[in-house]
Amino acid sequence: METVEQKPESRFVSIAKNIWQNYSVVVVFVIILVVCGIAAPRFLRPENLLNILRNTSIVGVIALGMTFVIIAGGIDLSSGPVLATAGAVLILLQRMVTAEGEPAMPLWIPILICCAIAVGFGFINGIITTKAKLPPFIVTLAVGIIARSITIYFCRGATIIGNRIPEFTRIGNGSLFMIPIPFLIAIALLIILHITLTRSKFGTYVYAVGGNEEAARYSGIKVDRVKILTYMLVGLCTGIAALIEMSRMAAVAAVTSGAMYEFEAITAVIVGGTSLSGGKGRLIGTVVGFIILGVVNNMMIMLNVSPYLSGAVKGAVILFAVLIQRRER
């Protein structure tokens, strides 16, 4: 049996080591901010920074839920298409008007249905992965393809314009005390989910299932239920993201709404230091992760980089962020 020798080390070294081990993503983030500030001074203007937060919040909300799924050892590739499906239903219901031109139903009904549909897709993902014992990569990929196709069919491949009532468009475009409402939603969700992950029993079981499924099962943890709940949670987050996205444009594009969002969300989670093999990770890392992605997107525009090259830069940033966090096992 190997035992780990504990060498005495100075207090300062151990504190510095602790910060580096637990918050290296924050260090990466600060490096990126400094580099951006020097390269383009306009970047640091408050309105630019707030704009970044607004733009990045939609993927960010999905990434929060995705963190749970990935910590539990799963993955969800259906988020983007599910966002489009739930969003399309939201727009279709929201644009219905009475003969007098008033909305046919109060706004909360379409919002609720939108979220319920997204949660429903999460439930389907969870049930199939756990009960049929199929890899989540394949299940969610297939479910995503189905969701996208259904959306395109019902929208006949077109873009559908919603009802531009202010109470609806304000959700995605408004601000409260200068701070963009989408970002406030993300922060509120972060607080709730952070408490869930760190203080609730469910949160602990999520780590246990991702860390060692077998040991979790022997400890009586209802492994399948925990997994299904994580998929439903990312579904709920996707529903909320759909609401923000639809509200920003007051329209849904059957083919392009939410396209690639699942990958951006997964990227944010990984850049945030959560391990794809499960059992490790934290939400604060994910928040820094999606803000880093937002900053990188923003800098491309600031520095007039050809949009065709944005993927190359993003890929390099991901590799850099993950490399710097890599530790010897």
């Binding site: 049996m1 860390g211 009586g220 209802k222």
Partner: protein
């Protein structure tokens, strides 16, 4: 003339623990040599040194009088004529029979492409030599286990083998298949190929082997000619001449206070097993590896589904279909492999000790204060040496990991505790501590079932032992009757 094989003064340590002490071992050309010993006697290690899987720390190996280069290279040893057939066959199910036989040495055409026709022809010739009619084009995964073994032997022969090592080849075979294998072994021997044969079935030795070498605790004990020894003699050599007796008083609690009763458990590995354990009793399960002890405990804990069988707790019939049910019945199970199924290594001590406690307590949220108190109490009670409750379990030593795995069940107030190999990979000091804890728990009225392959351990703490052999209970002894020899006698079922 020089012996075919001569191993002189072989020493080997793992992680500072010496598992082979100065072992000598010799085999003549064409000889069938049995190698036997208890679990952990060093048989497999010695053979893996010979096959080039491990490099010895000291000692020399001579083949036909020539010293072998001291580096671990199985392929080189195979080319020298030494092949080993492992218990878990090293074959690829998705490749064809011929591809398996010629893996990494495929015959080539000019230009480098594989000459499949030659490969199939050569394979067919090799298999025919063994009296087998397997189509070399078939996928290996479709074959029966006995046929797979033949493919392994064919592979060994294709290296012009002079010395064939077989590690428990019959453990997966039926009686008829075993007879065929024995014929084959005799046949190989007649062709001048020496066979080293490892098995737990002592009566097989007298049937097929000419000589038998016994190892015990990593020491070479003796080599005997088979006609001169009985199976009992071999068993005695395996456990040693000194008779170690139990150091535990007989169970003195209420003999009628049965906590757990298991009746007629049967499945493909278990044959109609029944046992009970009483309040405050420490019951041991002894036997050789593969006797079905762990499988039986998995049935009790609801992880494994038997074909038939009933479980009673305090006289009441219960259905245990999952770990969740078992926990509801106040059953606890510290598994054999703590890394695989006992602990979540990447999480801290607090979480690992409280998983079951949290499930038994009410509410959606963890109570920070209770949780911290629980952990602190367990660290003190079990003397878990750590930097603090938030230390990751992966950084603890084996003994302390085992204590954490145990703490989880103590917090859950388990009334029946199953401990599978509770001191495997645990150092001597921590081992005594764990024994002490187990005795304390029993004194507090917990019924304890210990599965152990370590005879010393059984003699040290168990008040009663049930011995199993190949899925059957072959004996039951109370502590005043227990000796290593008796347990070994039942375990080998001679």
């Amino acid at each position: 003339m020089a012996k075919l094989l001569s191993m002189q003064g072989i020493c080997k340590s793992f992680f500072g623990v010496e598992v082979l002490h100065d072992v000598n071992f010799e085999v003549e050309k064409g000889e069938i040599m049995a190698l036997c010993g208890e679990n952990g006697a060093g048989k497999s290690t010695l053979m893996k040194v010979l096959a080039g899987v491990y490099l010895q720390d000291g000692g020399d190996i001579y083949l036909k009088g020539e010293q072998l280069a001291a580096h671990a290279d199985p392929l080189e040893r195979q080319h020298l004529g030494i092949s080993m057939i492992y218990q878990e066959l090293n074959l690829f199910g998705e490749l064809s029979v011929a591809q398996n036989i010629f893996l990494c040495r495929e015959p080539r055409r000019k230009g480098g492409l594989i000459d499949y026709n030659r490969m199939y022809d050569d394979s067919a010739v090799l298999l025919k030599k063994l009296g087998e009619n397997i189509d070399p084009r078939r996928k290996l995964g479709e074959l029966k286990i006995a046929q797979k073994q033949m493919v392994e032997i064919a592979k060994a022969i294709s290296f012009n083998v002079e010395l064939l090592i077989m590690d428990e080849p019959t453990s997966v075979l039926t009686g008829k298949e075993t007879a065929i294998l024995f014929d084959l072994i005799r046949n190989l021997s007649a062709q001048g190929i020496a066979v080293i044969y490892i098995s737990h079935r002592l009566n097989e030795f007298t049937e097929v082997c000419q000589k038998v070498t016994v190892l015990r605790d990593g020491y070479y004990i003796d080599t005997k000619n088979v006609p001169d020894v009985t199976v009992q003699d071999i068993a005695t050599l395996m456990v040693g001449r000194t008779i170690t007796e139990s150091r535990v008083a007989d169970f003195s609690g209420d003999p009628d206070a049965v906590m757990l009763e298991v009746k007629n458990v049967t499945d493909d590995k278990l044959r109609d097993l029944s046992f009970n354990v009483r309040k405050g009793e420490i019951l041991g399960f002894s036997g050789l590896v593969g006797a079905g002890r762990t499988e039986l405990m998995e049935v009790v804990f609801g992880i494994r589904k038997p074909e038939t069988g009933e479980v009673f707790i305090e006289g009441q019939p219960v259905t245990v279909k999952s770990a969740i049910d078992a926990i509801k019945c106040d059953l606890g199970f510290v598994t054999e492999d703590r890394k695989e199924s006992g602990l979540v290594l990447c999480r801290d001590i607090t979480e690992n000790t409280n998983y079951i406690f949290w499930q038994k307590s009410k509410g959606l949220f963890k109570n920070k204060k209770t949780t911290a108190e629980n952990t602190r109490r367990m660290i003190d009670r079990l003397n878990i040496r750590c930097q603090g409750p938030d230390q990751h379990v992966s950084n603890l030593s084996g003994g302390n990991q085992q204590k954490v795995a145990l703490a989880k069940w103590l917090l859950a107030d388990a009334k029946i505790l199953i401990l599978d190999e509770p001191t495997r990979g645990v150092d001597v000091g921590a081992r005594q501590e764990i024994y002490h804890i187990i005795k304390e728990l029993a004194a507090a009225g917990i019924a304890i079932v210990i599965v152990s392959s370590d005879l010393q351990e059984v003699l040290t703490i168990c008040e009663r032992v049930i011995v199993m052999h190949e899925g059957r209970i072959t004996g039951s002894l109370i502590s005043s009757e227990m000796t290593e020899e008796k347990i070994m006698y039942y375990a080998t079922n001679v």
